[in-house]
């Protein structure tokens, strides 16, 4: 089986199968990030498609000093930034939460909590939300996030601290934590 680096080299030579494998392997990471950023299936689909299209078109520009998924997420953040410039902020769609299993009451509580948590995330400004999602859910280091968002590490750190303080205060206000 080819390593990620070999796949990238093959894809840069024009091997479609290598490109397909590369995108398929990184699909779930990219999808997870975009879904959390937008909270909306229609926008997620558009951003995901456009990100992958841009990645294929610019594959020869990729220099493998970072992971391929990091590069994809960088493209996705820029694509979403452009989308927000042209459109209104996304609306939250609730239909998507999977049933946690158990009673209807549990499901109802989960849905309410999900809605409130998603509202908190979506109320964060775009660049701060990106930092929080990349750190909290994707587990990136500060330097990787600074590379993705093209900003200094100190800015990433202060944005994360702001997000945490804001989220905790909002959760306390909504009675989600004591």
């Amino acid at each position: 089986m080819l390593s990620e680096l070999d796949l990238i080299r093959e894809a840069q030579k024009g091997n479609k199968s290598a490109l397909n494998t590369l995108l398929t392997e990184n699909y779930s990471i990219l999808k997870g990030f975009i879904i959390k950023m937008t909270g909306n299936p229609h926008i997620s689909q558009d951003i995901l498609q456009e990100t992958m299209l841009k990645a294929v078109l610019n594959i020869n520009r990729f220099t493998p000093h970072a992971k391929f998924s990091t590069w994809l997420i960088k493209i996705a953040t820029n694509t979403y930034k452009d989308y927000l410039r042209k459109n209104k902020p996304s609306e939250l769609i609730e239909e998507s939460l999977e049933s946690p299993g158990g009673s209807l009451e549990n499901l109802a509580i989960s849905k309410i909590e999900y809605k409130e948590i998603m509202e908190i995330i979506l109320s964060l400004p775009y660049e701060k939300r990106a930092v929080f999602i990349l750190k909290h859910y994707q587990g990136y280091k500060y330097d990787e996030i600074s590379e993705i968002l093209n900003c200094p590490i100190g800015t990433v750190r202060s944005r994360l601290h702001y997000c945490i303080k804001y989220i905790i205060s909002e959760m306390e206000r909504k009675g989600l934590i004591e």
Partner: protein, 135 residues
């Protein structure tokens, strides 16, 4: 005092996200540190539900690759057309310039000379290109 508390909060967040080791956090204000850690844990527990969030998206990667190929071909064709028009314009204007500067007789001799020599240059060039394509 307030600044210290803010620093502690920041360093606890950094240590929670494994950016600094726990040893590097300020050991003073222990009660406060524990309170912040508890809040971070509670927040994390609640935010886990977003991990289950999944949309059934209709994305076909092979189609995207094909679309990208089509875009690349269109872009290449566009550039080739622009190059062709530019080069044709340059050749025609230089011929006109030579004609005006040296007389049209020279231009006709030149054209006959180029017309006679061109096949000798183009045939080997075409063969080299063909060999390269085969490799």
């Amino acid at each position: 005092m307030k600044k210290d508390k803010l620093d502690i909060k920041a360093s606890i967040i950094d240590s929670y996200y494994n950016e600094i080791s726990e040893k590097d956090t300020n050991p003073t204000f222990n009660n406060e540190s524990n309170e912040i850690r508890n809040k971070l844990n509670a927040m994390s527990d609640k935010f886990d539900c977003i991990n289950e969030l999944d949309f059934d998206l209709d994305v076909n990667i092979l189609n995207i690759i094909q679309n990208a190929e089509d875009i690349k071909v269109k872009k290449k064709n566009k550039f080739e057309t622009i190059y062709f028009v530019l080069i044709a314009f340059l050749i025609l204007s230089s011929l006109l310039f030579i004609g005006i500067a040296s007389g049209f007789k020279v231009l006709i001799y030149g054209e006959i000379f180029i017309g006679a020599l061109t096949p000798f240059a183009l045939i080997p060039l075409a063969q080299i290109c063909k060999k390269r394509e085969e490799v």
